[in-house]
């Protein structure tokens, strides 16, 4: 099938606009008339279209072959291999690549369900991510969180890909996620999937150390009225409202939510100036036909963060449309387009950052014969960043920059035997800083028994440069080499990861799951800041390298119908050093916990009561040249709820055993409590 994507890429350069007149007549024709003959005759008139015609014929042939050996029989065999439990876990309606592919992937994946989130008492996405034992979540201020998997947790944690309903939300400004802007209505979150380890082949750039995929419910499952209000000591107040319904076969919802959060505590235990509030509203509509499904959704948010120097505002909008056509259970095609913009002020640096993103993503999956599942995709992301920090001493130059990203991937999943599967794939991407990058991966998985899988993977992933790596200047104006300055990273290349993973997943019985994963990562060309020889002019370079290794264990167990527990432990260690001939201490690039553990218990009591608790242990963080050490802590959250038909009353204590504790830097999170009333009609 190699010829599949090549002709597509090599047809003559013609713009979309010039193509339109040729397509117009076909576009309005009934699909039955779009036969090979008509298409060919029409295009053969024009000699300059010859290559296009060739492409078309090849495409048509491919199309015929793909669907001549339609996969429905394979699909039936595939479904028949599943246990009843697995059948009961299949989503009935169409799903995009996002959910299905992640859970099928032989990788270290954890899924947090809506129920686990609700019963943990989490009030936003970063708090919900504390339920994933291999993510290190550290709250820095009332509105800032640092979240990483497999290390490198710092202020500029930049090796994680985060998506909300297929929309990528890490900012190419510094490669990390502005968590205060990523609010979703937790009530409508279907699940959060977290893959630790690289996933750059299928997924986008930045998927170096992990992927977080937040999936909200299809509106077919969010009909009716939902309202909630909460008040407390750290989360000062929260309110949410949602209404969902159905007109013919289009289901829809609209929602709004607001949250006001109190400040954290400064090192001297006085109130830090970091209280903030955020309002977000949005909509989603889903339509589903026999073969097609269309989703349209959008959000609008605005917030204000208090700071010592004044207030910093942020505002953003996004709108997304996704069209999936399913040909059979193992062949489908998805086209997704989204537009996203944010505008944030930073009062401390008297600057602002405006980011606009238009993303088009297409992918197609189909079986080849009965042994192979082939998948490919292309994507274009047009990004315009306007980082205006010109009134500040340090700045991003030039202020305005295009950060376009183009990518394509192919992946083939081959069944070597009944039980042994090999998945080979690569992504090739083009970014404005370093041009073309490759991210290949090879994975094998062995279904040792019906309920257990052993998998292994070797992957290369890259973290492409962000504006903070290349365009950062301190000060903004040119200074002589005799005085100290940072003059960007004109030669900064992508950071590279070579990852080796081994894992085992087993379902000893229908009430429990256990998963173990180990990894060894080798990093090349990691960030450094070094003076040019004989000067005080520092440049951002790729002067560090290192390795990391660790193990992750997760398990869940339904002890009784009314008592579920889940938990996990993660060990992580790394060694970073300056490359030969370089002079830089890379320790502060990762403030990583060596040991981390999490345990969640959910108990249904009689009389509609629920008693839930979460325990978290995070090992101490060592001191680096840029950050203070953080002592180890052990925190407990408790939730007691009463449910009566459409009413839910709950009281949640967060960090009940700790009067105050720091997770990163010096600011401390106070012990807190909130009460919440929810109505679902």
């Amino acid at each position: 099938m190699e010829q599949l994507s090549l002709p597509v890429l090599s047809c003559k350069p013609v713009s979309l606009l010039s193509l339109w007149p040729f397509f117009k007549p076909f576009f309005f024709m009934n699909k039955l008339y779009l036969t090979r003959a008509t298409v060919c005759t029409a295009f053969c008139f024009c000699r300059s279209w010859l290559r296009l015609t060739v492409t078309l014929i090849i495409l048509l042939v491919v199309q015929q072959t793909v669907y001549a050996q339609d996969s429905s029989i394979t699909a039936a065999a595939e479904l028949k291999r599943m246990s009843i439990e697995e059948l009961m876990n299949i989503e009935v309606s169409l799903v995009s690549r996002t959910p299905g592919k992640l859970s099928e992937a032989p990788s270290a994946i954890q899924v947090i369900t809506n129920e686990a989130i609700r019963r943990s008492g989490a009030t936003n996405i970063p708090e919900a991510l504390r339920l994933v034992s291999n993510l290190q979540v550290a709250q820095v201020t009332s509105s800032a969180w640092l979240i990483s998997s497999r290390g490198f947790n710092t202020i500029f944690a930049n090796k994680l890909l985060v998506m909300i309903d297929g929309r990528t939300v890490y900012t190419p400004l510094f490669g990390g996620v502005l968590w205060e802007m990523q609010n979703v209505l937790l009530e409508d979150v279907d699940r959060i999937e977290v893959v630790s380890g690289p996933g750059g082949t299928l997924w986008g750039s930045n998927a170096v150390n992990g992927i977080i995929n937040i999936v909200t419910k299809n509106t077919a499952n969010t009909s009716g009225f939902y309202a909630s209000a909460a008040a407390g000591s750290f989360v000062r107040n929260m309110a949410a409202l949602r209404y969902g319904g159905k007109v013919k076969n289009v289901s829809y919802k609209a929602y709004g939510q607001t949250m006001y959060r109190n400040p954290m505590l400064a090192t001297d235990s006085t109130e830090n100036a970091d209280a903030w509030r955020v309002f977000q509203s949005g909509f989603r509509a889903d339509w589903e036909g026999k073969k097609d499904a269309i989703t349209v959704q959008g959000d609008y948010y605005t917030g204000t963060k208090k700071e010592k120097a004044g207030n910093s505002d942020f505002i953003g909008q996004n709108v997304l449309a996704r069209w999936t056509r399913r040909f059979s259970t193992s062949a489908d095609m998805t086209l997704q387009v989204y537009y996203d913009r944010y505008d944030r002020e930073d009062v401390a640096s008297n600057g602002s950052d405006k980011m606009k993103t238009l993303d088009v993503d297409f992918q197609h999956r189909f079986p080849i014969g009965s042994k192979q599942n082939f998948m490919f995709g292309v994507a274009a992301r047009l990004v315009k960043d306007q980082a205006d920090y010109t009134k500040n001493f340090a700045g991003i130059l030039p202020v305005t920059k295009r950060l376009d990203l183009f990518s394509a991937f192919v992946q083939d999943e081959i069944s070597l035997t009944d039980k042994l599967r090999l998945t080979l794939g690569t992504k090739v991407l083009h970014n404005v800083y370093t041009g073309i990058e490759w991210q290949p991966s090879a994975r094998v998985s062995l279904n040792a028994t019906n309920s257990s899988t052993i998998w292994a993977a070797a992957t290369r992933a890259v973290r492409t440069p962000s504006r903070f790596d290349v365009d950062y200047f301190l000060p903004q104006f040119p200074v002589p080499p005799t005085s100290a300055s940072v003059a960007g990273g004109p030669n900064f290349r992508s950071e590279k990861l070579y990852a080796y993973e081994l894992g085992y997943r087993v379902k000893p019985n229908k009430n429990s799951t256990v998963s173990v994963a180990g990894f060894y990562n080798f990093y090349k060309d990691i960030y450094s800041v070094e003076p040019l020889p004989g000067t005080l002019t520092y440049q951002i370079q790729n002067g560090s390298e290192g390795e990391s290794w660790g193990a992750e264990v997760t398990a869940s167990y339904n002890i009784l119908r009314s008592w579920q527990v889940r938990g996990g432990y993660t060990f992580f260690d790394k060694k970073l050093q300056a490359k030969e001939g370089h002079n830089f201490n890379p320790d502060y690039l990762g403030n990583d916990a060596r040991h981390q553990a999490m345990f969640q218990s959910m108990i249904d009591l009689p009389f509609g009561l629920q008693l839930d608790a979460t325990w978290r242990y995070v090992h101490g963080l060592p001191k680096t040249i840029a950050t203070n050490s953080v002592p180890a802590y052990f925190a407990i959250d408790v939730r007691l709820a009463y449910l009566y038909r459409w009413l839910e009353l709950s009281i949640v204590g967060q960090n009940v055993n700790l009067e105050r504790h720091a997770e990163f830097g010096g600011f401390k999170i106070p012990r807190s409590v909130y009460g919440k009333l929810s109505i679902r009609i």
């Binding site: 002709p7 495409l59 669907y67 028949k80 009961m88 095609m333 229908k510």
Partner: protein, 191 residues
Amino acid sequence: LTKLFTYTQLFPSYINRICTGAVLYVLLFFTSSVNAQSISREYTIKAVFLFNFTQYVDWPRTSFTNGEKVFVIGVLGADPFGKYLEEVVSGEKVKGLPIVIRRYADVKDVKGCHILFINYKESGQLKRILHMLPKQVLTVSDVEGFAREGGMIRFLTENNKIRLRINLQAVREGDLNISSKLLRLAEIVNP
């Protein structure tokens, strides 16, 4: 929209090439209906469930004594499975008997059937149908209130996933034996 076009003007030429290819590709596939199945995903899964029931249910000896050496899965009413059900059971056997699919327009035609999927939209007729069927037929349906009305297994969709509701009393009356594994995964109702 003008903005969008200005965007396209800014593309390097190879992007245009890729776009052209992509547009062609998408149009070709999205406008085609070659061999595309018209059966919904929901019913592909339900079809596999029907097949799975053959593994988890024991029929009394008497239901195999009508002389025919086949195991019959029947569909009463409009058939939502198309040819898919045949694909699922092709080559499969139950107690050494090959599985065959039969379709019935009327309950009076149902004979020698082991599993019957009842696709009647009017639940009013349900009582009459269930009354007329031999007790040893494992009755399955996704009609609202099926298990309550005396049907044996009802498919219901919750959170976009398929759940089972089993009327244990009806199953016992038919002398059928459903394995505990299946029962554990289902919701048991008593009419």
